[in-house]
Symmetry: C2
Subunit: 248 residues, 2 copies
């Protein structure tokens, strides 16, 4: 019994420990990136832990009231916007350290649902408290501006992809980008698992599922990648990058 109790306490401690920004392995990528230890504690105090989301569960639904932004701790999510009659559009994928929900500030409602692609944990950051805190912490404010600005820049890149690139280039870009994002997070840039379906990828890239399948097959034949289900092995990243940037 005593042993059990001790274990329980240990567990709680370790969970608590794990769960503070100061000890988070993502702190070098995440919002508090630029903060001093003391400031980070203040920031840490406002964030709320959430129970892990299971695959398919939604962090929030399109149209629900905006209260918080969320930092992804582990797992991944997709943002889906529904317009008119059942015509969904995947507008983003989120990986650990990325900030979800910033596009809800303006109208105080989320413009799309955000759904877990696998078991996923997030930190909830109530926006009014973040805003207040950003008053006292210029570094935090700057980081927030930068996050939004980066997202704007990424959006522009996406628009370019959607309006100028061929199907092959879109997929090459997609894999290059994923590879790069994994690399930055300390994972292998060559070998990873897709948490999203072909349908999600196609929807996101403005392509039919069949096209995604076909092109993956072709990439495989060309020796660029090795794909087995959702497992991806990038065999020739340079060629993939070249393909992604090539003129049509």
């Amino acid at each position: 019994m005593a042993v059990h109790a001790a274990n329980a306490i240990d567990k709680r401690r370790s969970l608590l420990h794990e769960t503070r920004c100061q000890n988070c392995s993502l702190s070098s990528l995440c919002l508090p990136l630029a903060l001093e230890l003391e400031d980070m504690e203040q920031f840490d105090a406002i964030i709320r832990r959430r129970a892990p989301l299971k695959k398919g569960e939604s962090l929030f639904r399109q149209g629900s009231a905006f209260n918080s932004v969320y930092a992804v701790r582990s797992g991944s999510l997709k943002q889906v916007t529904t317009e008119g009659s059942g015509d969904d559009q995947v507008t983003n994928f989120y990986l650990p350290s990325e900030l979800v929900g910033l596009d809800g500030i303006d109208e105080q409602a989320y413009p799309g649902s955000v759904i877990a692609l696998e078991t996923t944990t997030v930190c909830e950051i109530p926006f009014d408290r973040l805003d207040t805190l950003s008053e006292a912490l210029p570094e935090l404010r700057g980081q927030l501006y930068r996050s939004m600005s980066k997202e704007l820049r990424d959006d522009r890149r996406m628009m370019r992809l959607l309006s100028r690139k061929t199907a092959d280039q879109r997929l090459a870009s997609f894999f290059s980008s994923l590879s790069d994002r994994f690399r930055r997070r300390g994972y292998s840039p060559y070998s990873f698992r897709l948490s999203m379906s072909r349908a999600d990828i196609g929807n996101y890239l403005g392509l039919a599922v069949e096209t995604v399948s076909r092109i993956l097959g072709r990439f495989q034949q060309q020796g660029l990648v090795e794909v087995s289900g959702r497992e991806v092995n990038i065999l020739n990243l340079e060629a993939l990058l070249a393909q992604a940037q090539e003129e049509p």
Copy 2:
């Protein structure tokens, strides 16, 4: 002589008058929107007037150092991103009261050139001063967050347009959106002048110039709009809106 001098002084005064946020006709749309008079004066103090840009002149060039954001006072501009070898992409059009340059914060450099489509005046807002001021003025800070958030939301809408809509829907959306933006600024939503070329429109919407021309012709035949060069008369806004949102 005395009359001349008086006139000159009047002119200066009126220019000065014109040029303060308190008296700007755009103040209800622009960044200082939510500010009290006193706060607005503080904000007013940091903004810099710029000589008007002539058609074709650039506000800044892609890659140049980010120092300021700009609010459009009159006229219009386009944002153009060049990638690789001479392949331009128009990523945005800016109308009066809109904020230009927010996507440069992150990397401290502008990700695209911004070019005047006609004679255009802007207010320059040095970003470091804006940031500092936003510390003291929560309303200003909120407005800035909202501006960026709105741009994010607009980007998502654009992605949807580029990846799911037909050429007809894209043009219908484009005209609807322009109409709405003019309406909000107090201009006629039915009758306006395009400041951008067909090539710019096509590039922005991911369409060939020829397609733009053809579809405008068709819209005209269908009695939706009347187009003569760059003059546009919207004859049936409802139908245009319906067309824009219709499923493919």
